[in-house]
């Protein structure tokens, strides 16, 4: 009991700290590393939530492939830190205001009495094998079969799109 509370606090702290790092670091490569930190701690939270398959997938796909692609592009373009860091005057003020509104709204929803009654209560125990590859496969290939197939088409289109964009000659 104490262990999982401690782990939650640790991962949550790392996630929030690293997310702040993503948006406030000047050097894009440092931002990317901070994002890797967020991804890994979210993966840790997935394990706390009995989603071990998704946790492994998160590290493998997100941290291991997508972020390496990011780093690859960053190193290839060799971007300098932006100067100035943030957008100009009015847009910045509006952005922060909008973010505060979004945050209040989200908290309002999460902490509203109806939702809280359901979410503060005791966490039910899950059936054996919850979140395991077998359980995910059973649902994915029966109930969600068509969306799954459409996702594969989406990925194919993305591959073709990336190749077309990369092959084009620019004057």
């Amino acid at each position: 009991m104490l262990i999982s509370a401690f782990l939650f606090a640790m991962f949550a702290g790392i996630a929030i700290g690293c997310s702040l790092g993503v948006i406030f670091h000047r050097n894009p490569v440092h931002c990317a590393l901070m994002l890797v930190g967020v991804l890994l701690s979210v993966s840790g939270l997935f394990i706390l939530l009995n989603a071990s398959f998704l946790a492994a997938l998160q590290v493998l796909v997100y941290a291991g492939a997508i972020m390496v692609l990011f780093l690859f592009v960053l190193m290839l373009l060799n971007l300098k830190g932006e100067n100035p860091l943030l957008t100009r005057g009015a847009a910045k003020g509006f952005g922060i205001l909008f973010a505060i509104v979004v945050f209040v709204e989200l908290l309002w929803t999460v902490l509203s009495p109806q939702v809280e009654a359901g979410s503060m209560g005791a966490v039910p125990t899950v059936p054996r094998g919850f979140g395991s590859p077998a359980a995910i496969g059973r649902v994915l290939y029966t109930v969600w079969l068509y969306p799954f197939e459409i996702t594969s088409i989406l990925l194919l289109i993305a591959v073709i799109g990336a190749v077309v964009l990369a092959k084009r000659k620019f004057g």
């Binding site: 890797v36 071990s52 941290a63 291991g64 390496v68 690859f72 395991s132």
Partner: protein, 326 residues
Amino acid sequence: MDTAFLIESVIKVHIVLGFVLLVVPFIVWMERKVLGHMQDRIGPERVGPFGLLQTIADGIKLFMKEDLVPAQADKAVFILAPGITVVTALIATTVIPWGDTVTLFGRTIPLHIADVNVALLFVLATTSMGVYGVVLGGWASNSKYPLLGGLRSSAQMISYELAQGISLVSVVLLAGTLSLAQIARQQAHMWYVVPQFFGFAIYVISGIAETNRAPFDLPEAETELVAGFHTEYSSMKWAFYFLGEYANMMVVSGVAITVFLGGWNGPVLPGPVWFLIKLTAFLFFFIWLRATFPRLRYDQLMAFGWKVLLPASILNLVVTAIVVAL
């Protein structure tokens, strides 16, 4: 989560990680000795019996060297990068089973640190994190050759990871589980290398590419890149890269043995002994390859990965799936 379980886990972690770290000098010694004999030389022989202590002496020398950080380097990332390489490799060793269960003091103790139900994915995930060590080391040095080495390795490792993962998936199809201990247990009578020979070949080739070993050691190619990503590294930071490379070799061999070569299974001798015999043979194979093959050219390497290895692994997967379905 009782106390006995905790103590048991801590002891096992110490044994496995200690073993991996302590055995690395002897693998290096073996590599130099075997390479020497294959090239008609003697290899190290002055320090200790048969030159056994040569690597220890080298380690002490590295420890004493000045620890340089280039003035233009990104200091934090430069220091972090070698650590990532070692840590990811060591984490991956925690799920590799080196024996079945033993009964000690009335407790049944499985001979692996953690039996996660997604162990195979776990290994793939941690090794995919290992790319960061090389890429960041190359980038943080802020110098031409390391950057080229880092870029090359990120492209190479991402490309070969695909073929590696897909070749393992075909075994998962046969075994019906992602747990490494379960997969090893199922091979008591027939090793998966028999029905999955192509998968095994693809896994070994991409595994060598993943560890950046010859003939795929493009990221550190001495002749063209001046040692590639670790040009600017010296002293213990360099030693960490070296350690990481050998620990990675052990992980790749360990997974190959567990998934394809029957794990700890073998007649007469106890499980861990068989595992060690197979591990030694596999490491010898790594060294043998290094002595035999010349380094590939970069475009050959990428073409081979994408146009030969990946289609071959997908074909293997499809055929396996059809056979399993029938």
